[in-house]
Structure formats: C-alpha cells, structure tokens
Symmetry: C2
Subunit: 203 residues, 2 copies
C-alpha cells in the first residue's frame, strides 16, 4: 500500500538519477518493481507526479537541515542574529555534515545526480541545484566567515572569497565521489584542507 508507493518513488529516483527523467519510461519503473504500469497509476496520477513527489520530499529534507544547521534558505532573514554563537568548530561541523549528507545518504546522493541531469532543461531545477549544492552552501559559509571576521576570530578578508576557496574542495569531492571506488583518500585531503585553511586565516 503505502509501501508500494514508497518503492515506486525510490525506484524512480534511482532511474531518474542514472538516465534522466525523459529517458526513463513508466514501463522501466514498473518492470524494475515487478508490477504492471497500470498499478503505478493507483499511487501517482502520472509520471511527472512521481518526479514532483521526489522533489517535494527533498525540499522538505533540505528545509529541515537548514533549520538544524541555521543554514540560509530563501526565507532566511539576513538581518537576524542567528550566528551569534558562531565558532571555528561550526565550520568543521558543517563541512563534515555536508560531505556525509551528499555522499552517504542514499536519497541525497541520488537526488543530487537527478538534479545534475535536470538543471539545464528546467529553470526551477537549476535554482534548486544552486540552492542545495552550489550557491546555498557558499552563501552559508560566507555568512559564517563574515561573522567570524567581525568577532575577530579570523583575519580581515573578503568573506565571499573565503567561502568560495573553502567550499570548492568539498564541491569537487562530492562530484568526484564514486560508489565503487576507494574514496578515503579524498576525505583525508578534505580534512587537511580544512585544517590548513583555519590555520592560515585565524588571527
């Protein structure tokens, strides 16, 4: 029942993430699950509805994460004093969390790939991709660095510059991440990067 609906969503995500929305047929999804395509329409009103459900879920997950980590969202008010307790530890915490989420959480991993494939067709998906994986995190780091500079923890620098330089290796790593290979080396590189970065920029 609800179990089948969930299976459809996850199977569709797997296929969308590998082949792209258009390249996946309703038949593909049904066959992968061992049911007929007619059964699928008991749970979703059409193919696009499955896609939308996946996106809706991710938006919900992302909003939850934004709340937990005080990350910037579209509704985020930049004038508030959310970063009052910001410390250098928050940087490392965010980095590890971000890496783990996008490489170890299977839903997030597949969703990122799906977004990667849909970003050039669809302005809405392009915006979501940016918000979740590119501009969103960079913007968050920027705010963090601005606060830390103001508090005298870091040397005076352009926070945007710092944010891009700090976040870029994490972005590269997430994009290089390959399920089948040995990724431990890259995690170590990221740890070294974080350590060195803090060393270089703290007062």
């Amino acid at each position: 029942m609800a179990d089948t609906k969930e299976k459809i969503l996850l199977t569709a995500l797997q296929l969308f993430a590998r082949d792209g929305y258009e390249a996946v047929s309703v038949r593909n999804i049904a066959e992968e699950l061992g049911i007929t395509k007619g059964a699928l329409y008991r749970h979703y009103k059409n193919k696009r509805d499955i896609f939308d459900s996946i996106v809706d879920r991710m938006i919900q997950i992302d909003a939850q994460r934004a709340k937990e980590f005080q990350m910037p969202t579209e509704q985020y008010d930049k004038m508030s004093d959310s970063y009052a307790n910001t410390s250098l530890e928050d940087i490392e915490k965010f980095t590890i969390e971000q890496l783990k989420f996008w490489t170890e959480d299977s839903f997030a991993l597949l969703f990122r790939r799906m977004l990667t494939l849909e970003q050039y067709r669809n302005a809405e998906m392009a915006e979501l991709y940016s918000q979740c994986i590119v501009e969103g995190p960079v913007s968050y780091m920027e705010d963090l660095f601005r606060e830390l500079t103001k508090k005298g923890v870091l040397k005076e620098e352009n926070p945007r510059q710092l944010a891009v330089e700090y976040y870029a290796p994490l972005f590269l790593l997430v994009n290089m991440f390959d399920n089948n290979r040995e990724n431990e080396e890259y995690v170590q590189i990221l740890r070294n990067h974080t350590k060195r970065f803090i060393q270089n920029h703290k007062k």
Copy 2:
C-alpha cells in the same frame, strides 16, 4: 553540403547539452534547422552517429590541447621529462587557459554540459568527463606541483593535496558559470585564489 552536416552537429550538440541525448528527438534537431528528418540521414547514418561525431571531435580537440600544454593523456608517459621547464608561470597559464576554454569556447561549454548529462548512463562518457574536467586536470596539476617541489620552487607538500586544493575553485567556477549572469566577480575570486596559493606555498 558539408555546411549542413556541420549545422546538424552543432544544433544537435546544443539540444543534447540542454536536454540530454535520449530526450532529444531527430525531429527536434531537424525542425530546429528547418529541414526534414529524412535529410538528416543523408549526412549521418543514425542519431547515435551524430552523438559519436560530437564526441570524436571533442576527443580530437582535447588531444590537441594536451599536446600544446603538455597535459596528461592516457598515452602520456609519466617517466618522461616533459616538465623540465616547469615554472610558477605555467600554473597561472594553465588556470586561465582552462577557465577560458570551458567557459568561452562555445563547443567546449556545450560539450561539458552534454557530458555532465551523460556521465551516469554511460561508463565511457563518465571516463571522458573525468579525463577532461576532473581527474585529468587534477592529475596534470599534481605532476606540475611534484616537479616544482623537486626543483625547490615550492615547499615540501603532498602534490596531490596541492592539486586538489588548487584546482577545486576552478572546477567550482566552471560549474557555476552561467551565460546570462555577470561572472566577472568569480573570475576575480579565481585570480585572488591563484595569487594567494602561490604566495602561501612558494619557498
């Protein structure tokens, strides 16, 4: 004649880069060009042949670039002394060249997007993506840094670590690049990154 064949290739690339190979129909390509789909088969034996022709051209362009910049290829012999004349200037030269190529050359820009969309369906495209945009350039920088460390120009460091840290912002920038927006800010950030990186690591 040869003009039509070229137009087909470029139009197909535009569509493949936006929607992905499977989502583009032969009709789409023909209509975009104002010809009938039948005419298309005078120049290419089928849809896949167009795709393969695009890939073949890019492989040729990339091989040419590899030769000019002594970048690593699959045939590249790591034991050779190709980096005998390596200098710090080569780093900046490579960075600017890489950025310009992947954002200003329209063929390369579209091809990168196409590869991005095909990388998860096709192991061959995944390999090409890595070779052109991820592992290839990182590997090149790694060799460069190893040579510069050996020559005493840079401080003793893990060259792989340096390569990832140096290349990551370039990779992020290329991925953030948007035709319609103002990208000058990001170019400036990259320049600052390069300058600071050399400053921090030179002996």
